[in-house]
C-alpha cells in the first residue's frame, strides 16, 4: 500500500469520525458532551493535518461524503459510547497502517494518532487494550 493510499484511507476515516461525533455527541448526556466536543475537535485537527501531508506529497485529498449511516435511533447512552469506541478503534487500525510507511512524517503522524485514538477509545470504553490497532498479535510479530 502506498503512503498516499494509507493517508487517503486515514483521511476518509477522519471524515466519517467527524460526522459520527457530531451525530452521536449531540445525543450524549450533558456530562459527556465536553469529552465528545474535545474528540470532535481532535478529529478535525487530525483531518487538517492529513490533508496537509497529502498536499505536501502532491496528492489530492479525498473529500468527505455528503452523509454517513450512523444508527442512533432508540439507542441507549451505553450504545452511543460504544459507537464512539468503534469509531476510535477503526481509526486506530487505519493509523497502524501508517506506521508501516518509510516516509518519516507519515509514520510519525501515524504513531501519534494511534496513541490519541487508543486513549479516546479507552475513555469511551472504560477499559484499555493490550494491542490497539493490531488485528492480532501473531500478525504483528510475524508479518510485514
Amino acid at each position: 500500500m502506498s503512503v498516499d493510499t494509507s493517508l487517503q484511507l486515514a483521511l476518509a476515516g477522519e471524515h466519517a469520525a467527524i460526522y459520527g461525533y457530531g451525530v452521536v455527541g449531540a445525543r450524549l448526556a450533558s456530562a459527556e458532551q465536553t469529552r465528545a466536543r474535545n474528540g470532535l475537535n481532535a478529529h478535525r485537527s487530525a483531518r487538517d493535518q492529513i490533508e496537509r501531508l497529502i498536499l505536501a506529497a502532491g496528492g489530492a485529498p479525498v473529500p468527505s461524503e455528503a452523509s454517513y449511516v450512523v444508527a442512533v435511533d432508540g439507542v441507549t447512552q451505553r450504545q452511543l459510547r460504544a459507537i464512539l469506541t468503534s469509531i476510535e478503534d477503526r481509526l486506530c487500525d487505519l493509523y497502524a497502517a501508517l506506521t508501516l510507511e518509510r516516509d518519516e512524517s507519515a509514520r510519525a503522524f501515524g504513531i501519534a494518532q494511534m496513541q490519541a485514538t487508543a486513549v479516546r477509545a479507552t475513555q469511551w470504553r472504560g477499559s484499555a487494550e493490550a494491542f490497539p490497532g493490531l488485528q492480532s498479535v501473531p500478525d504483528a510479530a510475524t508479518s510485514n
Binding site: C92, A96, T99, L100, E101, R102, E104, R107, A108, G110, I111, A112, M114, Q115, T117, A118, V119, A121, T122, Q123, S127, A128, E129, A130, F131, P132, G133, L134, V137, P138, A140, A141, T142, S143, N144
Partner: protein
Amino acid sequence: MTADVRRRTVLTGLSAGLGIGLTGFSTFALTACSPSDDITVDAADQVALDQVLAGELALEEQAQSVPGGSAPQAEAAHRAHADALIAAGGLAVLTTTSATGPPSTSIVPGATAASLAAVQRRQAAAAARLALGATPRIARLLSSIAASNASFAWLIGASR
C-alpha cells in the same frame, strides 16, 4: 545492517534466572525463548526491542505492587507486551546495581497508581520514539505498545 541473534535457552531459563535473584553478577543476560533457533534481527530493531522489553518487564512488576483498580489488567497487558516483544526477537537483559543489589526491575516499595501511570507514560513515549527508526513490522508492534501504555496511563490516572 543485521545481527544474527542466536537463542540458546527457553523460557524456563528466564523463570530460573528471576527465581535465583541474580545475586553475584554485575550484569546477567538471559536469552529468550523463540520458536526457531536462529532469527535475523535488524540491529536497530534489536536495540528497540530490548529497550522496550526491559521497560515492559519493569512495568509488569510495578503493576503487581499497586493494589486494585485497573492495575491487574495493566499487569496482564505488560506481560502480553513482553511476550510479543520476545516473539519478535527481543532479549531480556536484567542488570543488577551491585553484586548484592536488587535487579533494576525489582518491585518498587510504595509504588502507587500515580507512579505507575507516570512510568507508563514515559514507556509510551520511549516506544513511540524507537518505533520511528524501526523496520515496518517492528514499528507497528512498538506503536501499538506505545498506544496501549498511553491508554493504561490514562485509565489508571483517571481511576485514582
